[in-house]
Amino acid sequence: MKPKETAEHYILSSSPHAHVHSSVRRIMLDVIIALLPTTAAGIFFFGMPAVWTVAVCVSTCIVTEALCRMAMKRDNTIGDLSAVVTGLLLALNLPAGIPLWMAVVGSVFAIGVAKQVFGGLGMNPFNPALAARAFMLISFTGPMTTWLKPFWWKTPEAATTATPLATMKTWFAAEATASASPHGLCDSAATGIPCLWDMLTGNMPGCIGEVSAIALAIGAAYLLVRKVITWHIPVAFIATVFVYSLIAGGAPAMAQVLTGGVMIGACFMATDYVTSPTTAKGKLIFGFGCGLVCMLIRQFGGYPEGCSFAILIMNSVCPLINRWTQPRPFGSKK
C-alpha cells in the first residue's frame, strides 16, 4: 500500500537549508585532476610500464572497494571516487617497473586492509596508499627498490639504477670532504646525480609520480586555488626538510626537497584529510613532524627516502595532535 501523504508534502529538516554544494566526490575529483600533471610526467619519463601500473592500481582499488562494501553489506561507495584517488596515489608511489601482480596485491591491501577494515572512508588511521606502499616495501623489497631510468628504452642494457638520494648518500659517504657541491659539477654521467633542472622536471629515477617537482607544484597550486588543501602542511613539511638539510649538511637542501618523494608526500600524501589534523596549528605541527622524521630517517636510518614512513608515523600521532590543538571557543577564558 502506498504511504499516505498530505496534499502539501514538504521536506522537513533542521536548519541550515542552504549548502555550498561541495561534495566528497567533487573534492576527490579535484585531487585526481591535480594528480594528472605528475601522472603525465611519470608516463612521459617511464613509458608503458607506468601506464600499466596506474591502470592496474586504480582498477584493482575500485574492484576491491566494491567487493569489500558488498561483503560488509554496506552502501557501495565507489561513487565518491576515494578509491580512485587511493589507487592513483599508490601507483604514483611505486617504481614503474614493478611486476603488476605486486601492484594488485598492494592495491588490495590499501583498500581492503588499510581502509575498509577500519570502516571505510573517514575511519582509517593511516593513509591507505602509504600503508600499502610500506607493506610492499617490506614484502617485495627487491622490486620496490629497483628503479627504471627515465627513457630507459634508449639504454636497454642498463635500464635500472639507484635513486638520486641513494646515490648521493653513497657519494657523500665516499667524498665526505668534497669541496664542490654535486650541482656545481652537474655531471650526472660521472656521479649519477641529476642536475637541478632534471630534478625540477623529473628527469631522474624514482617512483612514477614523485619525480617531476614542477608537475607536482602545478597540482598543488590547483588544490590550493580550489581550497581543497591549505598551505600549512606542505609549507611546514618542505620548510622543515629544507632547514634541516641546511643545518645537517650532506646532500644539498634543494636536492633533499626535490627528490625522494618529499614533494608528492607534502602536497598529496600528508594533506590527506582523514589522516591529518584539522586545525591550522595542528597542521603546522604535523607538517613539521613529517619533515623532521623524514630527515631523521634519511640521515640515520636504513632507507635513503623515508618520506612515506615519516608520514605514516605522523598519521599515528594525528589524534594526539588534534587533542592538543583543540580550538578555544570565541569568548572563552583561558
Binding site: M1, K2, P3, K4, E5, T6, E8, H9, Y10, I11, L12, S13, S14
Partner: protein, 269 residues
C-alpha cells in the same frame, strides 16, 4: 647459577611476605550475601530497578534499603531466590513488558512531510514536531530501540514493535520515547488499545486510519462501564490494566481497528 636461584627465591619470599601482610591488614570484609544475591539476579545490568546495575541493586537489597521484587527482568523466580538468601518476603510482582501504543503504520497514518536528518525520534520531534500527521503517534526513528538493552524493539513500517519474549520490562524505552507512548503493561494482558491520540474522532481520522475515536464500543462489548475494563481520557480508550478485559472478541469488534490481541509480535491487522 646458585646466585640466580637465590635471587629469584629471595624475590619470591619478599613478595609472599608482602602479600600476607596486605591480606591481613588491607583486606575489605564484604557481606558474602552481596555476591550471592548478585548471582541470583539476571545480570542484565539494565538499570530498570533504579540502581546502578545488578550489583548496585544487590547491595541495596542486602542493606535492606530496596524492596525485593524491583527486578523486572528476573521476575518472580528471581525474587524468590533473593528471598531465600536474605530471608525476607518476596513482594509478588507481575512480569511487565513494554507496549508501544500506536498502530499507525506508513500505510495508515499520514506523514506530513519528508523528514531528512538524524535518525532519532527525539531529534525528529524537535524538527517541526516530526513528520507524522498525528502528533501523538510513533515516529519510528528508533529512540526506544537504541536504548533497549535486549534488542527487543524493532522498527518496521515506520513503527516500533516490542518482542514480548525478549523484553525484560526495564522501562528504558518508556523514558526514551519523546511522544511518551510506551507503557509497561502486565505480560498477561492480551487486549490492548494501540493509540494514544485523545483528540475527537474527526480530528483523529484526518491524520490516521486506525486511531481511537473514543466511541466507547469496547466498553459496551466488555460488560459496560460497571465492568471497568476501560478508562477514557478525552476521546481515547485505555485498557485498565488493574482489571484488563479477557474477552479477545472485544478487540476484533473495534470499529477503528486500533485494538489488538497481543500486538507484540504482529500489528494484528
Amino acid at each position: 647459577m646458585a646466585t640466580a636461584i637465590l635471587i629469584i627465591a629471595g624475590i619470591g619470599l619478599v613478595a609472599a611476605a608482602a602479600l600476607a601482610v596486605a591480606d591481613r591488614y588491607l583486606s575489605v570484609r564484604e557481606d558474602p550475601r552481596i555476591g550471592m544475591v548478585t548471582a541470583a539476579l539476571p545480570g542484565a545490568n539494565c538499570g530498570g530497578c533504579g540502581f546502578a546495575g545488578c550489583d548496585g541493586y544487590a547491595r541495596a537489597l542486602v542493606a535492606g534499603t530496596a524492596p525485593n521484587g524491583a527486578c523486572a527482568a528476573g521476575g518472580a523466580a528471581c525474587a524468590e531466590a533473593v528471598a531465600k538468601i536474605l530471608g525476607v518476603e518476596a513482594t509478588a510482582t507481575e512480569r511487565r513488558v513494554a507496549l508501544v501504543k500506536c498502530c499507525g503504520t506508513r500505510s495508515e497514518a499520514i506523514r506530513v512531510g519528508d523528514y531528512n536528518g538524524i535518525c532519532d525520534c527525539n531529534v525528529a520531534a524537535a524538527t517541526a514536531g516530526g513528520d507524522k500527521g498525528c502528533t501523538y503517534g510513533c515516529l519510528g526513528y528508533g529512540a526506544c530501540a537504541n536504548v533497549c538493552p535486549k534488542g527487543a524493539i524493532t522498527i518496521a513500517d515506520g513503527l516500533a514493535k516490542v518482542d514480548k519474549r525478549l523484553c525484560i520490562g526495564c522501562g528504558k524505552c518508556v523514558k526514551a520515547c519523546p511522544k511518551h507512548i510506551i507503557e509497561l503493561v502486565p505480560a498477561s494482558a492480551t487486549v490492548h488499545v494501540l493509540c494514544a491520540n485523545p483528540d475527537k474522532g474527526p480530528a483523529v481520522r484526518k491524520v490516521c486510519g486506525v486511531g481511537c475515536m473514543g466511541c466507547h464500543l469496547c466498553e459496551k462489548n466488555s460488560g459496560g462501564k460497571e465492568a471497568g475494563h476501560f478508562i477514557f481520557q478525552g476521546f481515547l480508550a485505555k485498557v485498565n490494566y488493574e482489571n484488563p478485559p479477557t474477552d479477545e472478541q472485544v478487540a476484533a469488534k473495534c470499529p477503528a481497528k486500533c485494538m489488538s490481541v497481543d500486538p507484540h509480535f504482529e500489528t494484528g491487522h
